[in-house]
Amino acid sequence: MKKFFAKLYIWVLLVILYAPLVFIAVFSFTESKVLGSWEGFSPNLYRNLLTGQMQGNASLLAAVKNTLLIAVIAAAVSTLLGTVAAIGIHNMKGRAKKTVSFLNNIPMINPDIITGVSLFLLFVFLHFSQGYTTVILAHITFCTPYVVLSVLPKLQQMNPNIYEAALDLGATPAQALRKVLIPQLKPGMVSGFILAFTMSLDDFAVTFFTRGTIGLDTLSTYIYTDARKGGLTPELRPLMTLIFLVILILLIIINVRQDRLQKQNENR
């Protein structure tokens, strides 16, 4: 009996958690304008989304493109910056190391809204015209600490003599970095990239404050404006479903990779 309730509890929890997603996925296959009324099965919304012929606002596709572009650039740049920073932090000693690690953690705990507003004020102060550049810069800012955090453990696990061994065998510092250090850190860098990508993808607060007034929309700001205008564009439903699927696949990839790495470590 105890077991039954334990199981029931889990199932109720899962249903509550996933019901909204299932709901939106189901209604992505009907053309009704209003969410919640079933007007018969139709893949038309998917077709509209892919061909760009929208019932509603056509700038949805532009928003998706912006979102992906910003996420890819921000993730790539922060992976680079974060890896270099992690190597630097790892080679520091004592108090300096602790201080910098601590400073690295603050932006992650800091509420997005504060990051957003402070960046907005900074850009205004520096007379930056706000738009693509400022949004990308802002995203790099809050993504980099996550990359640092996922690369650092790889550095700690690494045999400290490996880099020296490469130098010893005749590699210049640049060659040692490329041929020995980077291959060792790759798993951490990949996890960092994926993390940064998803963080950038679903950011609203920071984007909202740094996008300026040129009408730049990412998915999150688009939906926000769209919802305020009354009623969501129906094509959002298949889009949400697709995004969820992509994220799900990414998550599965990360988990499988971690499992594999763990097994490798156990075999050592």
Binding site: N159, N161, I162, E164, A165, A166, L167, D168, L169, G170, A171, T172, P173, Q175, A176, K179, V180, P183, Q184, Q264, N267, R268
Partner: protein
């Protein structure tokens, strides 16, 4: 003489800590040199400076007459075998070994030939496609050695390469390393804390302690003629005793007189004496007997028995012999003059410099010690404190300053301790109390035990 590496006046500090002080050492071409010492003695630091991972603060390292300082590690014609192998986990055995050759743009066929040759040399021929992480510790070590020697370095540096292996494997690898050294003709500089390993492998041993070279010599020199108590104690088992050189070839210790072969110490000079436990012989001939003793313990050690005996004069000695003598039996003993190693005393007492505060107090080692004196306040004085005049206390609050037991030497009937104070100064203490290495102690001076206070520079 053909010196491949010549180190002159080398010093290195990390922060306040002096890791190496005034190191002078040369390595002959083709020699197997071992840097031997306890952990933290600076031997690995020296090796890392030769490799180029650390820069010396002072002094120079010459290789074939050319200064190495300023040349980055990847341009130095030497290779290192690291303590924990440091193989590249993302490359297989072949690519690990070929790493250096590929960087030097050696033609493909030659790389192939050389990799196969070294694999054969380290007896790992069939392993070239293996992932390095699937190899055992011993196999990884072989690959690490192969990866270094494939580049045909002039000097091979080895940083405790066998420390992570189990005993049996270590012994086998020692023999292989020795053979490799002979076959290749490369100069080896080997770092270890294992004295037995050093004695087995080396042509020359440099014994390190506290950042200084204590002795340089062949294994037999170092074993048979240690220059000080540290070396005698660190290499092999030994009985280290206080003695007095009466005249040339005559020494007194354990309250008996012995013939020895040492000369030139002068008459009635205080010395330290080392007698190896295998050099004290049992006899049944009263004419040969030099002193008598009672067997206290007897332990079987495989090849020999190890016995502790109490001499008729109250000293404890360790003796190793192939035959056991029953515990409690009276035995007659003698020592050959050849087997008595007489050493100059490193110091006769603790010499400290300080300032007089008042008639009852002198400031020494940064603290005020109650020492009655007849000097004016402010006088700079030299204070000579006999080893017996220092009191060590369990309770740190009872001492004027604190310290840590740094090194322990058993001298037959008492312990000779080296105490490192909180500020990093050293004091030497004779005591009958048993302390362990690393014990924290309070330090107090016994003013009535012959402490000599004189004006500085007198």
């Amino acid at each position: 003489m053909d010196k491949i590496i010549d180190i002159k006046g080398l010093s290195k500090s990390f922060g306040d800590k002096k890791v190496l002080q005034d190191i002078n050492l040369y390595v002959r071409r083709g020699e197997f040199l071992t840097l031997l010492g306890p952990s933290g003695c600076g031997k690995t630091t020296l090796l890392r400076m030769i490799a180029g991972f650390l820069q010396p603060d002072e002094g120079s390292i010459l290789m074939d007459g050319k200064e190495l300082a300023g040349i980055p590690p990847h341009e130095r014609p030497l290779n290192t075998v690291f303590q924990r192998y440091a193989l590249f986990p993302h490359l297989d055995v072949y690519d690990n070994i070929a790493f250096g050759l590929k960087l030097k743009k050696v033609p493909e066929e030659e790389i192939d030939k050389r990799v196969r040759k070294v694999l054969k040399l380290v007896a790992m021929s069939d392993y070239e496609d293996r992932d390095v992480e699937t190899l055992s510790g011993g196999q990884q070590q072989r690959i690490a050695i192969a990866r270094a020697i494939v580049n045909q370095p002039k000097v091979l540096l080895l940083d405790e390469p066998l420390a992570a292996l189990d005993l049996k494997m270590r012994k086998d690898m020692q023999i292989e390393l020795k053979e490799m050294h002979k076959k290749l003709g490369i100069t080896f500089i080997y770092v270890t804390h294992d004295q037995e390993e050093a004695l087995t492998l080396s042509d020359t041993i440099a014994v390190f302690n506290e950042g200084r070279i204590q002795q340089i010599g062949t294994p037999t020199d170092i074993y048979n003629e240690p220059v000080n108590c540290f070396v005698a104690d660190f290499i092999g088992e030994s009985n280290i005793l206080k003695g007095k050189m009466l005249r040339d070839r005559r020494v007194a210790f354990i309250k008996h007189e012995f013939d020895c072969v040492d000369e030139g110490f002068g008459e009635n000079v205080k010395v330290d004496v080392v007698v190896r436990p295998e050099d004290i012989y049992f006899t049944t001939d009263p004419a040969k007997c030099q002193f008598k003793a009672k067997v206290n313990t007897c332990t079987f050690k495989g090849v020999h028995y190890e016995m502790w005996v109490d001499t008729d004069t109250g000293y404890e000695l360790m003796i190793q012999d192939y035959d056991p003598y029953p515990v409690g039996s009276e035995v007659m003993l003698y020592i050959d003059p050849d087997d008595i190693q007489v050493m100059h005393k490193e110091r006769l007492c603790n010499t400290l410099y300080g300032t007089v505060k008042d008639a009852e107090t002198i400031e020494l080692l940064g603290a005020d010690f109650p020492l009655p004196n007849t000097f004016e306040a402010g006088t700079e004085v030299k204070v000579e404190i006999p080893f017996e005049a220092i009191d060590l206390m369990d309770n740190l609050d009872d001492g004027v300053i604190d310290g840590e037991v740094h090194f322990i030497l058993y001298m037959g009937n008492h312990y000779h301790l080296t105490i490192k104070t909180d500020d990093g100064d050293f004091l030497w203490v004779d005591t009958n109390d048993i302390w362990d290495k690393g014990d924290l102690v309070g330090i107090q001076f016994k003013a009535d035990k012959g402490i000599k206070i004189t004006k500085k520079d007198e």
